[in-house]
C-alpha cells in the first residue's frame, strides 16, 4: 500500500504542538529509521501513521492502497509489549482471529511464526511469564503473523539485554527480507546503522532531514543532527 505520504501533518495536545507541519514521502523497500532526541515526537509520529492518533491538521495518504481499511495492512510493535493473559500461541491467534482468519488457519499460521522467532517450544506457556526478550519476540511474531505490508516498531529493544537485542534485530531483518516495509524508532545509533537504509531525523516536532543512512552519519544536514550524533556517540 506504499508509498506513504504525510502531507503537512500536525498534531498538538491543547496548545502544545508535538508534531509540526511534517511533509514527507516514505517509499516501499528501504528500512526507514526515525531518529531524534527524547521528546522529539518520534513515537507520536509513528502512532499518527499507524492510525492510533488522529492528526490535528494535515493528511496521511497511503498511495498504493487498493482496497479497504489501511489498518488491515499494517502492524505495530511497542516498546513494552502488552501480552494478553493467555498462552503465547493464543496471543498470536488473537490478532489473526480479529483479522477474520478461521481458527484452524490461525493456529497453523501462529505455529509457523512462533517457529521462526524461536518460541515454538513455549507455544503453550502463558505469555506473561515469558522473559522480556521472549515477550518482545512474541510481540514481533504476533505482528508478523498478520502479514502486514508495513511494520512499525517503537524502540523495540529499549528494555532488553544485548543477547535479546541481537535476537530481535535478526527477526526484524527476516521480516524485512520477507518483503514487509520496516519503519522504526531507536535510541541506539549502532542499531540504526545495522538495521537502517534511510533516516528521518526529527527534532522538536519538526522534520529536519530525510537521508540515506550513510550520508546522514557522514554529513548530517542540520546542526541539530550533528549535535545529536555527537551526543549519542561521545567518543567520536
Amino acid at each position: 500500500m506504499l508509498p506513504l505520504e504525510l502531507d503537512r501533518l500536525s498534531f498538538s495536545v491543547g496548545s502544545t504542538p508535538i508534531i509540526e507541519d511534517i511533509s514527507v514521502r516514505i517509499e516501499a523497500g528501504p528500512r526507514t529509521i526515525i531518529l531524534g532526541p527524547n521528546g522529539a515526537g518520534k513515537s507520536v509520529l509513528m502512532r499518527l501513521c499507524h492510525g492510533l492518533l488522529q492528526p490535528t491538521a494535515g493528511r496521511i495518504v497511503w498511495h498504493g492502497l487498493r482496497n479497504g481499511d489501511p489498518r488491515r495492512h499494517q502492524a505495530m510493535v511497542f516498546q513494552r509489549p502488552v501480552m494478553l493473559r493467555r498462552s503465547a500461541l493464543a496471543n498470536v491467534v488473537y490478532g489473526l482471529a480479529l483479522a477474520g482468519k478461521s481458527r484452524r488457519a490461525s493456529e497453523l499460521r501462529a505455529m509457523d511464526v512462533l517457529e521462526v522467532v524461536g518460541l515454538a517450544q513455549h507455544a503453550g506457556r502463558p505469555a506473561r511469564v515469558l522473559s522480556g526478550g521472549e515477550q518482545q519476540r512474541l510481540a514481533l511474531a504476533r505482528a508478523w503473523a498478520l502479514g502486514p505490508d508495513v511494520l512499525f516498531l517503537d524502540e523495540p529493544t529499549a528494555n532488553l539485554d544485548p543477547a535479546s537485542t541481537q535476537d530481535i534485530e535478526n527477526i526484524i531483518q527476516a521480516i524485512h527480507a520477507s518483503g514487509t516495509k520496516i519503519i522504526m524508532t531507536t535510541h541506539n545509533l549502532g542499531q540504526a546503522r545495522r538495521l537502517g537504509d534511510e533516516v528521518l531525523f526529527i527534532n522538536k516536532g519538526l522534520l529536519m532531514e530525510q537521508a540515506p543512512i550513510e550520508r546522514f552519519f557522514r554529513e548530517p544536514a542540520s546542526a541539530e543532527a550533528g549535535a545529536f550524533i555527537k551526543g549519542e556517540l561521545p567518543w567520536h
Partner: protein
C-alpha cells in the same frame, strides 16, 4: 458471661446437628443472594465495561453517580421496591411482594451499582494498558471489552464476592420486601434481628457464625484462586 457461653454452646449444637430450621434459613439466604449476584452481574458488568471503554457526554457524572449508589442504604432500596410491588404500586398486579422474588429484586438493585462501579474501575485500569495494543491489532470496542473482561476475570471475581457479601449481610431491604415470614421469606439476617429481639440467642448466634463463616470461606477461596492465577498466568 455464662449466658454468652451457653448461647455459643447451643449455637454450636444447632450447627453441628444440621438443625432443619437453621438449614432452611441458610439455604434461602444463599438462594436469594446468589440469584441477586447473578442477575446483578448480567446488568452491572456490561454497564461497567461500557463506561470503561466508551467516551460520551455525561460519563464522569455517571461514574460519580454509580460510586455514590454503592453506598445506597438497604432500607431505602427496600422501601422503593416495596412501593413498586405493593398492591397499589405500578407492579402490584404481579403479586410478588413478600416472596423471595421480591427479595432478589431488592438485593439486585442494591448491588448492581457495586458491581458496575468496581468493574468499571478494574476494566478501565486494564484498558489503559491494553488500549493501543488492542486497537493496533484491529479490535473494535466490543472485542476490546470482551478481551478486558476475560483478562481481568480473577479481579472481577473478587468484585462479585463483594457484591455477594453486601447482599448476604444486608437486613433492611429483605426485611421490608420479604416481610420475614417464617418458612417463606426468613433469611439469616432477618432471623438474627428477630430472634435477638425475642431473646432466642442460640439461633441468632448460630446464624451469625454461619454467616461470617460463609463469607470468610468464599473470600478465602477467591484469594487462593487469584493467587494461583497470578502464578499461572502472570
Amino acid at each position: 458471661m455464662t449466658s454468652l457461653w451457653e448461647a455459643f454452646a447451643a449455637a454450636w449444637a444447632l450447627i453441628a446437628g444440621f438443625d432443619a430450621t437453621l438449614a432452611q434459613i441458610v439455604g434461602l439466604s444463599l438462594q436469594v443472594s446468589l440469584s441477586a449476584v447473578l442477575i446483578a452481574t448480567c446488568f452491572g458488568l456490561p454497564l461497567g465495561a461500557a463506561i470503561a471503554v466508551e467516551r460520551f457526554a455525561g460519563r464522569q457524572a455517571l461514574i460519580v453517580l454509580l460510586n455514590a449508589l454503592m453506598g445506597l442504604p438497604p432500607v431505602v432500596v427496600g422501601l422503593l421496591v416495596y412501593l413498586l410491588l405493593s398492591r397499589a404500586g405500578p407492579l402490584g398486579s404481579l403479586g410478588i411482594l413478600f416472596t423471595p422474588t421480591a427479595m432478589v429484586i431488592a438485593q439486585t438493585l442494591l448491588i448492581v451499582p457495586i458491581i458496575a462501579a468496581l468493574s468499571r474501575q478494574t476494566l478501565e485500569d486494564a484498558w489503559r494498558e491494553y488500549d493501543e495494543q488492542l486497537r493496533s491489532l484491529g479490535a473494535r470496542r466490543l472485542n476490546a471489552a470482551m478481551t478486558l473482561i476475560w483478562d481481568t476475570r480473577f479481579s472481577l471475581l473478587t468484585i462479585l464476592l463483594a457484591g455477594f457479601g453486601r447482599a448476604a449481610a444486608e437486613v433492611g431491604a429483605v426485611m421490608i420486601v420479604g416481610g420475614n415470614i417464617d418458612g417463606v421469606t426468613r433469611v439469616m439476617t432477618t432471623t438474627i434481628a428477630l430472634e435477638t429481639s425475642k431473646g432466642d440467642l442460640p439461633l441468632a448466634l448460630g446464624l451469625g457464625i454461619v454467616l461470617i463463616g460463609l463469607v470468610l470461606l468464599l473470600n478465602t477461596a477467591a484469594a487462593l484462586l487469584r493467587e494461583l492465577a497470578q502464578r499461572r498466568y502472570g
